[in-house]
């Protein structure tokens, strides 16, 4: 049902892309990841030793979800609804 324990890729606003197992998300979209790996390790050697992390929701640009675990069209609809609700308010 939820995406916890799935592998996701979080792209941050500083262009760092972190792939890891999603442990939890809260209402600010803060994200906890386990067994993480940075996309471009050569550019970010300081991240090689980091095994898990907590990401503040405000620094996230994108979260790439596993396609198999997501109904893309439904998600599109959900975002449309959300957008419609936002404009209504």
């Amino acid at each position: 049902m939820t995406l916890t324990d799935q592998t996701v890729t979080v792209e941050l606003k500083n262009d760092l892309s972190i792939t890891g197992v999603l442990k939890s998300v809260d209402q600010f979209l803060n994200i906890r990841l386990d067994s993480i790996k940075v996309l471009d390790e050569a550019r970010h050697p300081h991240m090689m030793a980091v095994k898990n992390c907590f990401i503040r929701g405000s620094v996230v640009r994108y979260v790439q979800l596993p396609a198999a675990a997501v109904d893309t069209q439904l998600l599109e609809d959900a975002t449309r609804r959300e957008a419609a609700n936002q404009t209504k308010k």
Partner: protein, 882 residues
Amino acid sequence: MAFFGLPESQKYLEGGLHEDEDVAVYTWGEDGYDGLGDALVEGNDDFNDDTFGGSDPIGQDFDFQSGRKLEALERPAERTQTYQSHRDHHVPEQRLEPQKPQEQPKASTIESLWDNKSPFSVLPKFDSNRGAERPHLGSQGSAQSTDHGRTQSHPRIRTVEEIEAEMRAAAKQARSGASPSLPRAYAQPSDGHRPQPTSLEELERQMKQHNLNQLPRGSSPLTGFPTHVAQHSFAHQRGSDGRSSSGSISEAQLLQLQRLQLQQQQQQQQEALQQQMYRQRQVELAEMQGQIPLDYQQQQQALAQYQQSLLAQLKPDEFIQASSRSPQLSFDPEVQEAVRQKASRQIMEQEQLEGRRRRKAMKISRMSRYNDLMTQSDKDFITRIQVSQLVTADPYAEDFYAQVWSTLVRNRMGGGDTEGSVIKFGQNGGVGGGVPGQRGSGRRQNAIQRMEAQVERIISNARIREKEKGLHSIHSLQGALGKTSGRSYKAAPRQLLQVDAVAPSSPSLSHTQAQQHTREGSADFIAHTAKSSVHATTHQREPSPVEAEGHSDNKPLTRKQALMLIEGLYDLLLKIEHMRREQPAPEDLAGVDDWKNRRASLIDEVLHTLQTQVPLDACVPHPLISILAPAKGKRVIPRVLRHLDPRRQLGLLYAIVANFSQLDVVIDAHYLDTPQDSPERKEVERQTQLFITHVFQSYLPLLQDLTLQPIHEMTILLLERGNLVLLAKSRPGLHLLTFILSQVENFKQEIAEGSQRAGLPTSSELQSWQTLYDRLFHVLSSHLVDFFPSTRLAAAMPFGIDYYLDPNITDVLDLPVWRFLAAFAVHASMEQQQILVVRLREKVLDNVVSASKGTEIEYRRRLDNVDLFLHALGLDSSQINI
């Protein structure tokens, strides 16, 4: 009294106080002595001189007190005592210093035992660093030592302050564990400062005690153990060279020492040294057991330094003497060395292990600082606030994805729960909120249940409050834990989505370009056919006022416009789908009517958004075709069709079919004929799949129910308005043509079987179909070979198809063409069949010939392909002779 003045004291002495004679006055030895003493008769004094030594000079033999000779005798025991008590030794060093020189010069009969000439000569010198050599004693030892310290009488009476200080030091020692500080170890030495006149009995008692303490720890019985002090201390000296320390003497070494000790004579020393060895062993055992003090290494270093400095103090000749005298007593140096190395290695390992353990413990302790910083109720409180913000009165609206997704999953699982059952918070145990290990078991499960109950309460309370307060309550807790959105992201705005209206760069956006590119060919064709009369027969519509404002300019939609329309379409569809949930009860007639009207108007809006009202020739491509270009435009069709009645579905189908050759999947189909795996090719492949699965498949049910009339009309549309050859070279086009032809064939067969089903075509209709087919045949027959993807691929490649492509793939690609040809052939007249055979003769032969070369599977597949067509002609591949 004499201090108060001489005259008065003189008076007393002279017996001047005779006036008051109360005081008896004895005058023996004075001038006024009455001489009564002389009157006593005393005899037997003749041998007094013999008895008391007479007037001979008195020797020192009897004088045990003054010369401290006893000390020498007791020295070993004392040393032991000082070792034991060095922990609670509190007297500062400066106090000891002046006393040392006093003792050192003392050398007498027994002391000579300890002088530099004896094998034990080194020991006294080492007294001062004994404590350093034994960096610490076990707790057991310290307890004993304090005992001894108490019971033994000290010649120098300690002050209360000293005793207090001692007790404090002892307490501190106990607290800090087995880690005596270095200065104290240095301060410890000095024999004289606290001479402990230990009797032999006391020593024996101590030793027994030690034996009792030692034996349970698994050590060997230590009868008459050492006396080989020379070797021992010599070993210490050598150890001080920096190679190893006294702590490195192993048990094996000790056993050797034990053997050697038989050469020693003096019982007193034996006993004392024995005790010393016990101590040593105790220390070693403690070390082996990993009870190495924290600053053990530093101590070792300091000890080595100290020993070296002592060696320097030692007179060179003494050192040489000592070392030269010992060989016959010392054991084989190689064995000794090996043993020492082994021991030191063991100690190193122990130290490493210990260090690791300590680091781990430190880490844990550092982390545990934050343990229980928040109580469970604190955490629950936070979670409740978080949850209360997530709680909503309308979960379907607020959490659309989760609700629909869960419904879908349940349906897929076959659970078939009642529709509209809403997933609730915490159902899966995963709350988020950064709390790890939420899904626990046992007690945790219980806690989660309690949480759920609490949350239920929160939800109901929130609802009540919402009702009471109206709209404001929604925001009651908003921002309770901070704001979700700040302004920071606006500081450096970054355009995230870039929809390029003119020149798309990514492959997915390449259609408009491709369309413009390939349109040259088809545009002329369409321009021609547009002038013909056919299109007017089906779609004679006047532009409505609405479309006049939208697309009166008759320009094709830009990609951006198309995307906007698609989004509008989805919004409409969502509204319509949502309406289904708001369907009023059937009894509520007015409500039902109102609902139906609203729904109908929404559907009208959908069709309008799809641009079906725009004249077919308004522009190229038609707005509807532009909407179908993006993937989500293709995906929207099935959802639209769900809400349309069959008449409108058919209308939409006409609109699509009329402009079929404008479709991206038809125009871009030539990309599929390139052997290279280019991004364009991939994209076209994807779009083609999408078109077939979403648009074509969703129309299948409708198509199967069609009568000949609409099929006929569609064929005319295709024939008149589209580029049939281009269309037939694309997979969707070929699918459509095949479907039309086979559908008509079905009608024919049903009629042949004498079926009376309603909707079957009349003979006149079939007649007109046949003329239409003739036209179709005329257009297509000369291009039949080009329909094969394998042929087109081969044409694109200079070295033949087999050079590049796996025939397995081309066979699969060719299958729809063979199918089409089969459907095409069944309608053909005899002459038409002749033409078909002539045109396709080579292709058929090619396949049959190459089939015989391939594997069994390839062979079968190829022949099956060919037979599809040949059977339609009433032939079979087996009839062909190569």
